[in-house]
Symmetry: C2
Subunit: 402 residues, 2 copies
């Protein structure tokens, strides 16, 4: 089954996470991804966990992000490497990079340069603060933890009155990667109407600021500075984790009707008649008293006992799954969200699948991740029509890998 | 300036957050969004903060999410309301909904029904566990906090050895919304090639599981169950927040070279020669000792003093901004990421802007959010060619708003 983006060719100069997240999604949707790596490889090949032993081709971190892609090694410090990149750009639909602003320009592959080679191309950059930036920000280094902190997300994540916490996955990179895909697809659609390419200038800080939800208006309208609230919600109560006799349980009372149901299944009809807790605004106002009463009740039984009670009583609840529990969850397996790939020379590995369930062209893991430079010869001969002699000479000069 | 999606018409039956996030993005990119609301309005109109007083048209939560959209009130419990929805579907490019699975089918607007009306339409659903689900999951209620907990994200977010924490913004909904946009845009592109519509079946749990990054392979390859680490990274050290004399500071040593620079600016060349800390794998192994030494050093001066030292020394750092600080940040303002809109009858409000910086067709806030049913008459007369008499009669019967 073909993907929705079959026939779209992406020249992927990105590394580690934000850019590779974008090209992973485009690849899952059927685009051809040519991952151009420097001779030492994408830095993500240096990240654990490794399968068996430390080796550029055995990083499970790299493998999970780079399924469905081809790898071509090119030394862009050599003029002949640049010449090959120019040939790739000429036959590409999309080019994507996440170097520090200025790096592509220094190589001779800024937006103006690339547009001269191929005016139909869509040129996507992802950086910490944006290419179009105030002078003191443009080349500022921005790792995920910098962006989570700078954007304000860290200041609203963590225990109440506790220290700020980082979201456990690198959402600074990952959200920016998703947003770049949206920019690229919108530009591709626009190109089908106009024939013109364009540039996408994504900033990781903008990306997280855009998803801050009610926190921004809480400040801009009410002057409040939102703080971390543990597992709780700033305006819905109760809507958080409680400790049972053994594990945590989430109780999510999104509407008043569910409050009555919760009180009933707890055998605490007195609470549902308690004027302090009758509506969500009142429960917000008397949050401390309410959380304290519920904590006391919920500690009386185990997670499994409460789950059964809530299931029967129609009260929205959830376990706080750890990574083993979610990886072994039957619904995750039913939805093909954990897929096993055969990684050549490495063995079978389970990685997260694609969440893009389209009925005609679902996102898919078509094939395993490439070894470093695995597709160099293939791409040079089939796509760029180089002769064997030319390829051998490029190898001898170290422009491409052996 | 037109958006990339000019001419794309979206029939938006969604409410509160996951669906409205998707249509906000599509609207920022230039699509026409017809937000079909029940007579009582989108539930998000009941969410604070409110501007001035509690009123369906004064919720800043709703306003920030629904800029650029039109509002049409339709009572889908009445046959005449359904007839109007059928007419809208016939002229729509995309339909999007985030009811509990089964609800659209019960109304007579399941995927098969809608496809019969308009085979070119793209039909996007977002639910907690997916429409295609194991029987016990399909209609399970899934609020954001449920999904953050179920997916495993909560189990890796929070202080080390502390309780699980919810990400401070509703990323369960917001990631699912971004992914739905990607599915819709891929399907739109595919439709330009084939003329065929298709269905997108997004699950919030799949969406978060797909962004769990290295956590999945840590378990599937190494059998580790990742745990929360405060602000720290599971495999890069130091890469976290430290307390200074006053505020927190982020220090992000992404490569070994930066470690030497850090030691130098700290005046602790002894540390850069310390065999325990020479490489990132060694710093990981001796994380406790290293974090303890650095904590002691960094507590000696204030945030501003360290920021100056790190800036000069080329060490990646960041403040942990709170929401006021990021809202007042010059770079956020330079990038138009905080925009002021004139909300009719309400006044001027600052909301987050669009992060989709495309050179030809940038994402934009074109206009303010609609009052409940503000565009009902306009859409019925211009788009569906109803006469004034027909509109009056629909009003009298309560099919649409007055």
């Amino acid at each position: 089954m073909d993907g929705a983006l079959k026939g779209v060719r992406v020249i992927d100069l990105s590394h580690v996470l934000a850019g590779p997240t974008a090209t992973m999604i485009l690849g899952d949707l059927g685009a051809e991804i040519i991952h151009v790596e420097p001779p030492k490889g994408d830095d993500a090949r240096e990240y654990g966990p490794y399968v068996g032993r430390v080796d550029k081709d055995r990083s499970a971190y790299f493998i999970s992000l780079n399924r469905n892609k081809k790898s071509l090694v090119l030394d862009l410090k050599q003029e002949k490497g640049k010449a090959i990149l120019r040939e790739l750009i000429a036959v590409g639909d999309v080019i994507i990079e996440n170097f520090r602003p200025g790096a592509m320009e220094a190589l001779g592959f800024g937006w103006e340069d690339v547009q001269r080679i191929n005016p139909r191309i869509i040129y996507a950059s992802i950086s910490g603060f944006g290419h179009d930036a105030l002078p003191e920000y443009a080349s500022r280094p921005a790792y995920d933890v910098v962006v989570q902190a700078y954007s304000g997300l860290m200041s609203i994540t963590g225990p109440e009155d506790g220290p700020p916490c980082r979201v456990g996955s690198s959402v600074g990179d990952i959200i920016a990667g998703h947003q770049a895909v949206i920019g690229i697809l919108a530009a591709l659609y626009y190109r089908t109407l106009t024939g013109r390419g364009q540039r996408y200038d994504g900033a990781m800080v903008d990306g997280l600021f855009a998803i801050m939800e009610n926190a921004v208006v809480r400040y801009s309208v009410e002057g409040q500075i939102p703080r971390p609230l543990g597992t709780a919600h700033p305006s819905i109560v109760p809507f958080q984790a409680f400790k049972t006799k053994d594990d945590w349980i989430i109780v999510a009372i999104g509407v008043d009707k569910l409050w009555t149901q919760l009180c009933k299944v707890l055998g605490r009809e007195d609470l549902s008649n308690d004027e302090r807790f009758r509506t969500n605004p009142l429960r917000n106002k008397n949050r401390k008293a309410l959380v304290s009463v519920l904590s006391e009740e919920l500690e009386k039984r185990s997670y499994m006992e409460w789950a059964e009670v809530f299931e029967k009583g129609g009260v929205p609840y959830s376990p706080v799954n750890n990574i083993r529990q979610i990886c072994e969850d039957p619904q995750i397996s039913y939805r093909d969200m954990l897929v096993e790939i055969e990684q050549k020379g490495v063995g079978r590995i389970k990685i997260a699948g694609s969440p893009f369930r389209l009925s005609e062209t679902p996102g898919r893991v078509y094939r395993n991740a490439p070894a470093l430079g695995e597709h160099t010869d293939e791409i040079l001969s089939s796509l760029l029509k180089k002769t064997d002699a030319e390829i051998q000479s490029l190898k001898a000069e170290g422009v491409i890998n052996n």
